[in-house]
């Protein structure tokens, strides 16, 4: 970067691109509110997300975040970790926009849908950069509020509206809990900036108040990541929402929740002082362990008992939140790069495979195939290509080779064992083995069962197919190409001082 020097605020380019795209969409929408020109709005949104992804990838490769760039009086920090997650959000958003081109074709208000997606993505992209509890709250709300509207966007669909309401009520409650927790922590430490919170904790004796505040903050994150005990909204919201929105929420929004949790917990409440040191006050690692085990077990067992595919995927995404939580639960306070990095790498791979799986649901809904496992019977004889992609996603989610999910899951469990938490890895492995049961049910239905009804697939929506193909290719390529991902993921973990 010797040739020219970008101004520091340009480090926020991924988030700014999303925000700008949202504004452009608003302008387009206000000029012609009844526009049916979905190519224009979907194209703009896709280009915006691609540009954001381009910025994030470029910065990562150029090493922009290696020396953290601090902005706005320390309130925002751009380092390799926030850029890593920006890649995840931008990729998922791109896939979702491309697929929505067909899925939302009958929707009357095109502009608002994409503008809301862009706004939510803006919030998500800021979340991993938040270095102050105030920014944490603002960015979390910025990503949540458009999401409520997105879930309920099918106004005439009872399921969609009900899901939106449920999501909103749980979300409002947990936002209140989060902000109350922040206020308690502020009361104890006298600052909202994470590094100052950390130093404030070292000198305090108000451990009780601090503990309550921290647990409340963790609760707020549990909502965003759809972890136990704030997971109730997830199955309803994912099932009722339009499938591309489910993909967006269960992949990007979840990753954003984890990203912010990683930074707040490791930087704001450093393990050395808060958990293990002489001044130990609150064992949030223990809390993360309980949450991890409860989340993966509940998610997987509930997924195994579902009748509809979309709801099964919703619970499986709760299960995956449990796996990702291992990244927090197996921290020891030193040399944690491996397990934290594995958790981040898993979230990246998950971004592609889970988005892909939900986009296949979008395709099935587009064809009005039906919702249950039986409705998918014999789908492969009609649409072999899409079914190959879905098989790739499901087996990758289950952690089978030869897909990206195999390595990321393996490294996550190996990292937990390396940190001495072999029992966490064992619980994860057992859950993972169980998950193969319900994922393979879908594969079996698609490929092996005979078609039950007569349905003919009339259209092959270009957008959804393109998104499926891209997600499947990435899921496969992430296995041979795991090397660089792993390098950047551990680099991102190192940026948190792990």
């Amino acid at each position: 970067m010797a040739a020219f020097e970008l101004p520091p605020w340009m480090a926020l380019a991924p988030a700014l691109t999303f925000a700008l795209t949202a504004l452009v969409l608003f302008v387009v929408d206000s000029i012609d509110p009844d526009s049916e020109n979905r190519t224009l709005v979907a194209g703009t949104a896709t280009l915006g997300s691609l540009a954001a992804a381009g910025f994030a990838v470029w910065y990562l490769f150029a090493g922009t975040g290696e020396e953290p760039i601090v902005l706005f009086g320390d309130a925002l920090v751009v380092d390799s970790m926030s850029l890593f997650f920006a890649v995840v959000f931008a990729s998922v958003t791109t896939l979702v926009c491309v697929a929505s081109y067909d899925y939302m074709a009958d929707h009357h208000y095109q502009g608002e849908f994409y503008a809301l997606v862009m706004l939510a993505a803006t919030g998500m992209t800021i979340m991993p950069s938040a270095n102050s509890l105030a920014i944490v709250f603002v960015s979390l709300e910025l990503s949540s509020l458009p999401s409520y509207a997105l879930v309920a966007i099918l106004k005439k669909n009872r399921g969609s509206v009900e899901a939106g309401l449920k999501y909103f009520l749980v979300g409002a409650l947990s936002s209140a809990i989060l902000v109350y927790g922040i206020s308690l922590v502020y009361g104890v430490t006298g600052s909202l900036l994470l590094p100052e919170v950390a130093s404030g904790i070292a000198g305090t004796e108000l451990n009780g108040v601090l503990g309550v505040g921290m647990l409340m903050i963790i609760g707020g994150f549990a909502f965003k990541t759809a972890s136990v005990p704030f997971h109730f909204w997830a199955p309803e919201a994912y099932e009722g929402a339009p499938a591309p929105v489910s993909a967006f929420l269960s992949s990007a929004s979840k990753a954003a929740g984890f990203a912010v949790a990683f930074r707040v917990l490791t930087v704001g409440f450093p393990i050395q002082e808060v958990v293990v040191g002489a001044t130990a006050s609150v064992d949030w690692v223990l809390a993360a362990q309980i949450l991890a085990v409860a989340t993966m077990t509940l998610g997987n067992f509930a997924a195994a008992t579902q009748d509809t595919v979309k709801r099964m995927l919703a619970y499986s995404s709760i299960g995956h939140a449990g796996y990702a939580l291992i990244g927090l639960a197996a921290l020891t306070g030193g040399n944690d790069q491996m397990v934290l990095g594995a958790s981040m790498a898993h979230l990246l791979v998950y971004g592609f495979m889970n988005t892909g799986a939900f986009l296949f649901i979008a395709l099935a809904e587009h064809w009005s195939v039906g919702r249950t496992f039986e409705d998918y019977n014999g789908l492969a004889s009609q649409a072999p290509f899409a079914c190959v992609a879905m098989t790739v996603f499901l087996f990758s989610l289950a952690g089978l080779p030869p897909f990206g999910g195999f390595l990321s899951k393996y490294l996550l469990f190996a990292g937990a064992i390396g940190a001495g938490f072999w029992w966490l890895a064992a619980v994860g492995a057992i859950n993972s083995a169980l998950s193969l049961y319900y994922y393979s049910r879908v594969v079996k239905a698609m490929w092996i069962e005979e078609p039950t009804g007569d349905f003919d697939i009339e259209s092959r929506p270009v957008g959804i197919y393109a998104a499926l193909a891209a997600a499947a290719i990435m899921t496969v390529l992430l296995l041979p190409g795991f090397g660089p991902v792993w390098e950047y993921a551990t680099g991102a973990a190192a940026a948190l001082g792990a």
Binding site: S381, P384, L400, P402, P480, F482
Partner: protein, 510 residues
């Protein structure tokens, strides 16, 4: 470069066939499968290597290594290469796939592009299994084999195909998990080894570098890992009592899939046993030689007895596979030059002969639409050519001299008899040899009832003639079986070269 090209071409062919129209898929798949076939034959003709791939001082053919992922202290790398054990298996895979594709033209009549695409995908995975030398790469290919196999049986199989497919999938997948844990524990126990590279691990283990893993001491760890890996591979072989998935899978699978299953997939199990258990932990293998030999002999005898009790031609051939694979285990456990060499040679010989038998049963089924021994007799008068090949194949199975099976079994018995590792080796050898008598018994009995005597078939179908593309692969196979029987050196020289260092360093007699 060449192994990568071989796998990549096969994978690309699989995708091309998958996307091709149904009508053209069969011919296209066969034509494209000639590419890897030609490739592997070219590799065989230019093959130049010495020693065992996993041991020090070896010179591998077509070796290629580069870094994949560095995770914490451990490096995963892409490492492929061929030695005298894997080269014949690679050749076997490409030959059998092409022939199995020809044998698919008649029986497969729906969703053809998917079927042929999956068959080529299966071939690519198998080539990877036999050429990978890093555990992770190897494991990826090992698991890759399962997915197409599951669908191939589940979609194109017989009436109970769903049950058979899921049973195969669950059995072998659980086995893989057990084996995976066993091997990874072993690597973690080797404190100084920072990769899953199979040669590195093997040499460290043979060098006695194994430490403790947590509270488990090196000796207990060795045995535990050996048992875990043995159990994992025994399901694949299959060794009695882990064999119950095999007859179900075989009976329900369509002919070409049975050919691949018996011809190549079972060899994955014995190949892995040789590479992992018997190369990496020879000490444990020798300590527990008697127990393993017991498993082998029980497989030989019990498999043959089960075959004797069947009334379905395909089931007979399926159970006889269990019996034949028992010989391979016996050869491995003997751990002598002829034992190991014979076991490897038997993998090739049995691959060709069992492929031949399944193909012949398939041809008979295509024309008569029944496989039950009691439903037919005197086929010889209606389809003399097919029957001739069937009889020739059966004699190959019984170990008639000048056929590949004879050479293989002779080597195994010689090796087992001379074994210094195995206590009371002559006894085990004699018991296993008795298996041949049973084999001859059930094959002759079945042939006498179905092929000879007055012609009669109890089905509603008109018995026609077998098509040229059904019979041609039979001829190719029988020629290969005879060629290998007349001159075992075609493969045996390179095999012996690769197993020789094993015997020399931890041997059990000549």
């Amino acid at each position: 470069m060449w192994i990568e090209a071989l796998i990549a071409v096969t994978l690309l062919s699989a995708f091309a066939v998958f996307l091709s129209p149904d009508g053209a898929a069969g011919k296209l798949a066969f034509a494209l499968s000639l590419l890897p076939l030609a490739g592997s034959l070219w590799m065989y003709s230019t093959y130049e290597a010495s020693g065992n791939a996993l041991l020090a001082g070896s010179e591998l053919a077509f070796e290629e290594t580069f870094q994949w992922v560095v995770a914490g202290d451990y490096a995963l790398q892409w490492h492929v290469g061929l030695d005298g054990i894997s080269m014949p298996l690679v050749a076997l895979t490409t030959v059998l796939t092409s022939l199995a594709l020809l044998a698919s033209w008649t029986p497969i009549d729906e969703r053809q592009s998917q079927f042929y695409g999956l068959m080529l995908f299966l071939e690519a995975s198998l080539l990877g299994v036999f050429s990978a030398l890093d555990f992770f790469v190897w494991f990826v290919f090992w698991e890759m084999v399962l997915v197409p196999m599951y669908v191939l049986i589940g979609v194109w199989g017989g009436p109970r195909r769903k049950y058979a497919a899921i049973k195969m999938f669950v059995y072998t997948n659980l086995a893989s998990l057990v084996m995976f844990i066993g091997f990874v524990a072993l690597v973690f126990g080797l404190g100084d080894v920072n990769s899953f590279d199979m040669p590195t691990v093997a040499q460290a283990l043979r060098g006695g570098e194994l430490g403790s893993l947590g509270p488990v001491g090196p000796d207990a760890l060795k045995v535990a890992a050996f048992v875990a890996m043995f159990a994992g591979f025994a399901v694949k072989v299959p060794v009695v009592p882990f064999h119950t998935w095999l007859p179900d899978a075989h009976v329900e699978a369509p002919t070409p899939v049975s050919i691949m299953l018996a011809g190549v997939l079972l060899k994955m199990g014995t190949y892995a046993l040789l590479r992992f258990n018997f190369t990496m932990l020879p000490g444990v293998a020798q300590d527990y030689a008697t127990i393993i030999a017991l498993f082998a002999v029980v497989s030989v005898i019990y498999g043959a007895m089960l075959a004797l009790a069947q009334s379905d031609l395909k089931r007979i051939v399926a159970y006889s596979s269990v019996s034949s694979m028992g010989y391979v285990i016996l050869g491995l456990v003997a751990y002598s030059l002829y034992g190991l060499g014979g076991a490897t040679f038997q993998m090739i010989a049995h691959g060709l002969i069992s492929g031949l038998m399944f193909m012949a049963v398939g041809v008979i089924y295509n024309t008569t639409h029944t496989r039950m021994v009691s439903d037919m007799s005197g086929l010889a008068s209606k389809m003399p050519f097919t029957v001739t090949v069937f009889v020739a194949g059966a004699f190959g199975y019984m170990g008639l001299p000048l056929m590949a099976g004879f050479a293989a079994e002779l080597f195994i018995f010689l090796g087992a008899f001379q074994s210094t590792v195995l206590a009371s080796a002559p006894l085990f050898t004699a018991a296993a040899m008795f298996g041949i008598v049973i084999v001859a018994g059930y094959l002759l009995f079945a042939m006498q009832r179905t092929l000879f005597g007055p012609f009669e078939v109890e089905t509603d179908y008109e018995v026609g003639h077998a098509a040229f593309h059904d019979v041609a692969p039979l001829v190719v196979l029988i020629l290969l079986v005879v060629a290998l029987g007349v001159d075992p050196g075609i493969f045996y020289d390179m095999i012996q070269n690769a197993v020789d260092p094993l015997v020399k360093t931890a041997g059990g007699g000549a």
